[in-house]
């Protein structure tokens, strides 16, 4: 019995020991954060008091919890990185990091992680940074509730908001990114989830990923970014309930899909983009329950795409529903709602009795000669379109939705 008690006591000591040993270190304005970090032992908590710290290039190589009180400002004064991290189990919370360096040589960032694991970056405010959060070769990251903004005028003067290179198993949630080159940039990132982020007014892409398989993007908003969202060379992606809004320009897209395969695009809203979705070289993708509204072109589906399915989507008030660049059609359109559909439903099963051809003649002409857009909606063009609808000659004959819905879907 006594032996058991002793062993339980020791066990409790063992479990409790990190708690007992962990110290809390407070840093006040004027003190060096780097020195405090060096002094701390693994597992300690650093509390940074309110105030301004003109410091940069702070290296953290041990597991710590860094907490800012009332958003202390760490101002790098346009010199280099602010925090450089290579460790595991680190938490950074409640800091305001401003004015990083402006260099492409070292990709200056507010917080830069190398070879790290199990780190949490939350509730930080980043202003006027070159790169915001920069992660390489790391895993199990949690990046939540950060506000990241930059105010560069030109694309090459700024880096990405949240930049992950060769990372895995991470979560990016509830962040706001604006004014950077790319809002979220992922390259060789796998098994990662981006959820409920607000990405707007970035110079180039809201979201940009390449070679990043098995990721999901849920309920994010991508609004008013220079060229929308562009994703490439990836398979097994899930895009669900995102909003793609007001991406305007000659090469701006709600989403540009290049060589994406085996992916799902479900329940997204594409509103007022010049092009809702532009896709080329993409295969075996499923597009369901999406809403395309007030876009210039809802879809630009290049002939290099195959085995994609567009099922049960709403197409309303788009200037052109679909345009394509060839006569080859290897994709399926089915059970979508098209507001331009003029057929009838005699058997009252809510599905039109004759098919709908979403490619109209004039979108083919405008594709070839952009200046012709000026004649859109003139009587002449309407007549031409009517004739083409009856006897398709220029538009691909097989691009047809055989079962168009009579009423729009209610996606709530």
């Amino acid at each position: 019995m006594k032996a058991l008690r002793v062993s339980i006591f020791f066990l409790l000591c063992l479990i409790g020991s990190p708690e007992v040993l962990a110290n809390t270190i407070r840093i006040n304005p004027g003190q060096s954060i780097q020195k405090a970090v060096d002094r701390a032992s693994p597992g300690d908590t650093l509390i940074i008091s309110e105030g301004t710290y003109k410091q940069f290039g702070i290296v953290i190589r041990k597991p710590l919890t860094v907490i800012g009180e009332n958003y202390p400002v760490i101002d790098a004064d346009f010199k280099g990185n602010i925090l450089i991290v290579a460790t595991s189990n680190l938490t950074i919370q409640g800091l305001k990091l401003i004015n990083t360096g402006r260099s492409n040589m070292d990709d200056s960032a507010a917080i830069k992680f190398f070879d790290s694991k199990d780190c949490i970056v939350r509730d930080n405010i980043l202003e006027n940074t070159y790169f915001g959060l920069h992660f390489s070769n790391s895993s199990q990251l949690t990046i939540i509730n950060n506000k990241i903004s930059a105010s560069a005028l030109r694309e090459f003067e700024v880096g990405n908001g949240i930049h992950l290179w060769k990372c895995k198993n991470s979560y990016i949630g509830n962040n706001e990114v604006s004014g950077h080159r790319d809002g979220i940039y992922l390259e060789f990132v796998t098994n990662t989830q981006a959820k409920e982020n607000k990405i707007q007014k970035n110079m180039r892409y809201g979201l940009h990923f390449m070679f990043s398989h098995d990721n999901s993007y849920i309920r994010n908003t991508f609004k008013n970014n220079g060229a929308g969202v562009a994703v490439m060379y990836t398979k097994n992606v899930l895009m669900k309930e995102n909003r793609f809004e007001e991406n305007w320009g000659s090469s701006a897209y709600g989403i540009l899909l290049k060589d994406i395969s085996d992916s799902e695009v479900v329940g997204n809203i594409f509103l007022k983009n010049t092009v809702g979705i532009y896709m080329e070289g993409s295969s075996r993708m499923e597009f369901t329950n999406n809403t395309f509204r007030e876009n210039g072109w809802a879809l630009k589906l290049m002939a290099s795409c195959d085995q994609n399915t567009f099922k049960a989507n709403n197409f309303t008030q788009n200037t052109f529903d679909i345009s394509t660049n060839g006569s080859l059609v290897l994709n399926t359109l089915t059970e979508n709602y098209w507001d331009k559909y003029e057929g009838y439903d005699l058997d009252k099963n809510q599905i039109g009795d004759i098919g709908y051809r979403p490619v109209n003649l004039y979108s083919v002409i405008v594709e070839k000669i952009p200046a012709a857009v000026i004649l859109w909606r003139s009587f002449m063009v309407t007549l031409l379109d009517r004739m083409e609808k009856i006897i398709p000659t220029l538009t691909p004959d097989e691009m047809i939705d055989e079962s168009p819905k009579m009423k729009p879907y209610d996606f709530g």
């Binding site: 320009g249 000659s250 072109w297 002409i365 200046a371 857009v373 000026i374 859109w376």
Partner: protein, 255 residues
């Protein structure tokens, strides 16, 4: 002048045509509002009516009106009033009546079920097109002595501006596709009041599609104050020129 205008207006408003035209417009607008589920679809459908039907009716009505009132005009000319006043009173009466019909016909449903900027633009475009085509009709009427011929000329002008001209521009764009055509098409569009009205609507309805490279050029032009000034000025010229020319002919014409 005012007195002449008053009598001309009385006369025209009492006619069956003004009633039928207004009721027709109301019916069209109401049915479109009932069928379409949202405003931009409404303005799209109303625009098609505005671009096609309104110029046609304006042209035909103004011509027939001129010939129907020819005896009254001749009687007035025998009185000590200025020829230009006689002419202008008839012209203004026609334009006022056509504009009123559009305002009431399309405006009432808008008041009832709501409108946005595109619908307000549409009303303005309708009024301007009515004035332009009434001008064309009066010009056709004073140039010929035969009613059928005058209606023929008015209809010809209508077909030319709403169909043939666009076909010609499209052919031109197609033939010279390899050249930068933005400025040329912009210039060509200025030569057609119907196109100008249509493009003012396009700016509201298809803004996303116009954000592409070429579209952005047009969009930039028509949303800049300079562009608006030029477009507005051109439309004003289109309203004034046929009318002024018709008045000159009218003043010298031997009835």
């Amino acid at each position: 002048m005012l007195k002449l205008l008053k009598y001309a207006l009385y006369d025209i408003l009492k006619s069956r045509f003004a009633m039928i035209y207004t009721v027709f417009m109301i019916l069209v607008a109401v049915s479109i509002y009932q069928v379409s589920d949202d405003l931009s679809k409404v303005s799209l459908s109303l625009m098609n009516i505005m671009i096609m039907i309104v110029p046609l009716i304006s042209a035909v009505f103004a011509t027939t009106h001129f010939y129907n009132n020819l005896e009254f005009i001749e009687l007035m000319l025998a009185q000590p009033v200025k020829r230009s006043h006689v002419f202008l009173s008839q012209l203004f009466a026609v334009i006022l009546m056509l504009s009123l019909s559009i305002m009431i016909g399309f405006g009432l449903p808008m008041l009832l079920w709501g409108a946005d900027t595109s619908l307000i633009t549409l009303l303005a475009v309708g009024v301007i097109l009515s004035a332009v085509f009434a001008g064309f009709a009066f010009l056709a009427s004073v140039l010929t002595r035969d009613k059928a011929k005058a209606i023929g000329i008015s209809l010809g002008l209508w077909i030319y501006f709403s169909l043939v001209y666009d076909g010609f521009v499209l052919y031109l764009i197609y033939s010279f596709a390899d050249y930068p055509l933005e400025k040329v098409t912009l210039g060509l569009v200025m030569l057609n009041p119907v196109d100008l009205g249509r493009i003012l609507m396009l700016m509201q309805l298809d803004i996303s599609a116009l954000m592409g490279y070429t579209g952005a050029f047009f969009q930039k032009f028509f949303s800049s104050s300079m562009g608006l000034l030029i477009a507005g000025g051109t439309l004003a010229l289109w309203t004034l020129l046929p009318n002024l020319f018709a008045m000159r002919v009218f003043k010298k014409r031997d009835f």
